[in-house]
Amino acid sequence: MNSIWLGTLLAIACAGVEGVAQMALKQSSRRPRRRSRWIALGVALFAVEAVLYTAALQRLDVSVAYALGALSYVSVALLSAMVLRESVSVLRRLGIVCIVAGCSLLALHG
């Protein structure tokens, strides 16, 4: 696999992991009885994300990798809509469309 493509996939994976980590931290405030478990899961996922982002930076320019990190807004919005049943406003949807368009451009252009 082309190294830039692998880097791009790693950066996208970071955004996915970030979304799940944020979800775990949110759950820690919603479920007080299992609070410490959710926090531990969140912190562990942040450590995984740090390793993945390091690997992404080895293959991508930081200007691209950092911008791709904005996809975490997308994963957080998707997960909060699906798991937490939070509503996603029109303005936020519009923001997500812009982020996805910008990241697609960066990913395809290299």
Binding site: V51, L52, Y53, T54, A55, L57, Q58, D61, V62, S63, V64, A65, Y66, A67, A70, Y73, S89, L91, R92, L94, G95, I96, V97, C98, I99, V100, A101, G102, C103, L105, L106, H109
Partner: protein
């Protein structure tokens, strides 16, 4: 605005706190940008491995990743100080300015290329993050 409100706006404590928030937000952007530049430099020097053991071993022999950790520790302390005085939904969108500073510094310090397609891509991302920030502020205003 009530007279009491005006009076408290002019009090030295509130003025100092506002300067504190502005300074804290500026510092957050600076630390975020510096952290990314250092992380990039550190990543290039580390072995291309996803194994935590290999990475941890390499980190212990290299001061740069430790500097990255130091910057993020400072970032965390600074952020907690900012949040003591400002709402998250107001503070967070302002820090999205780091999308501009990271690109500018990566071009200036690391010599990364910024062609028109990249510029459009990053601008779209910034616009999207900005819209989400505006949404967060609007949501905070309507209880």
């Amino acid at each position: 605005m009530s007279r009491a409100g005006r009076k408290s706006d002019k009090s030295p404590a509130v003025a100092a706190s506002r300067h504190g928030v502005a300074l804290g937000l500026a510092l957050a952007i600076v630390l975020d940008t510096a952290g990314q530049m250092l992380w990039k430099r550190a990543a290039v020097g580390l072995p291309e491995s996803l194994s935590p053991a290999v990475l941890l071993g390499a980190v212990l022999h290299d001061p740069l990743p430790l500097a990255v950790l130091g910057v993020f520790a400072l970032q965390l302390v600074n952020w907690l100080l900012v949040l003591e005085r400002a709402e998250l939904s107001y503070a967070q969108p302002i820090t999205s300015l780091s999308y501009v500073t990271v690109v500018a510094m990566s071009v200036w310090l690391l010599g990364e290329r910024l062609d028109p397609v990249r510029l459009i891509g990053v601008t779209l991302v910034l616009l999207g993050v900005g819209l989400i920030g505006v949404d967060a502020i609007r949501r905070a205003r309507t209880p």
